[in-house]
Amino acid sequence: MKLRAVREGLILIALAFLPAIGEGIYFRDKVSWQSPIPASELVTVDRARSWGDSAIWVDARPDEEYSRDHVPGAFSLNEDHWSELLARFLPHLSPDKKVVVYCSAESCNAARDVAKRLRDEAQLKDVFVLQGGWEEWVKKSK
């Protein structure tokens, strides 16, 4: 009985690859396979700095970390107080400005999530995630 379960299980595991590969081929251009954020949506610290006043900085870290220190002029916009902070942030936007979102480091997801919500909910187009986040900003500022 156990052997039968193992054999059946292995066949199901193998069979599931077929539609998965098909779907993967269908979505091949719509998915970023190596990084959760597509390269076109990432920006380096140097490049973002070169944008000067045409960039608006958004700090997606928790309130305490923002209070401790942040990129000069950055707005706090995290998912803990989304509606309240978004309402404060939106009046400062203009169509010609690029939005640069950052969180603590390369490994954090908050910047990606906030950038996605800004694109989906606030209908913003030029939204970028800062490569390396706050950690990289500090390193480059030394």
């Binding site: 059946e8 299980g9 199901l12 069979l15 590969i21 979505f27 998915v31 190596q34 959760p36 997801n109």
Partner: protein, 145 residues
């Protein structure tokens, strides 16, 4: 209808419910694999390139296993895989909570987006109990509907 027959039908109903839940869960994720990849990535246990590949694979495995339970074709294999998947998923959810991660499970696509941790866990354990019951208690009560 004798008691034995009633039991068989009751088990068959559990088969259909459990199988149906996994087919539904799988289809809801197949429709948005990128979102599911993000949900897996939120657990912060696997690198992205693994998460995104799993996001394409796991939903189909769930669908096939769900169909196996519903159709009783490869029934034991389907139940074994579902048991393993649930065990891994429950462990990952509890571990994520213990690490202080506030995440959405993504188990049922957009439907489960706003469920809290307790709701996830209660539902997961209920399904886990049903799958275990089918694995160990159902063998004497087989019937085709």
């Amino acid at each position: 209808m004798g008691e034995e027959e009633q039991m068989r039908y009751a088990w068959r109903v559990v088969d259909l419910i459990v199988g149906g839940i996994f087919v539904y869960a799988g289809v809801s994720k197949v429709l948005d694999p990128v979102q599911f990849a993000n949900d897996i990535d939120n657990y912060k246990t696997l690198p992205w390139f693994v998460s995104v590949r799993l996001a394409f694979y796991l939903p189909w495995l769930e669908i096939l296993c769900g169909l196996a339970v519903i159709s009783r074709f490869f029934y034991r294999g389907g139940l074994s895989i579902l048991t393993a998947l649930l065990a891994v998923f429950i462990s990952a959810t509890v571990a994520a909570k213990m690490r202080g991660l506030d995440i959405t499970c993504g188990c049922f696509g957009h439907v489960s987006k706003n469920w809290n941790f307790s709701t996830h866990l209660v539902l997961d354990f209920a399904i886990f109990a049903a799958v275990l019951a089918l694995s160990f208690g159902n063998s004497r009560h087989r019937v085709e509907l």
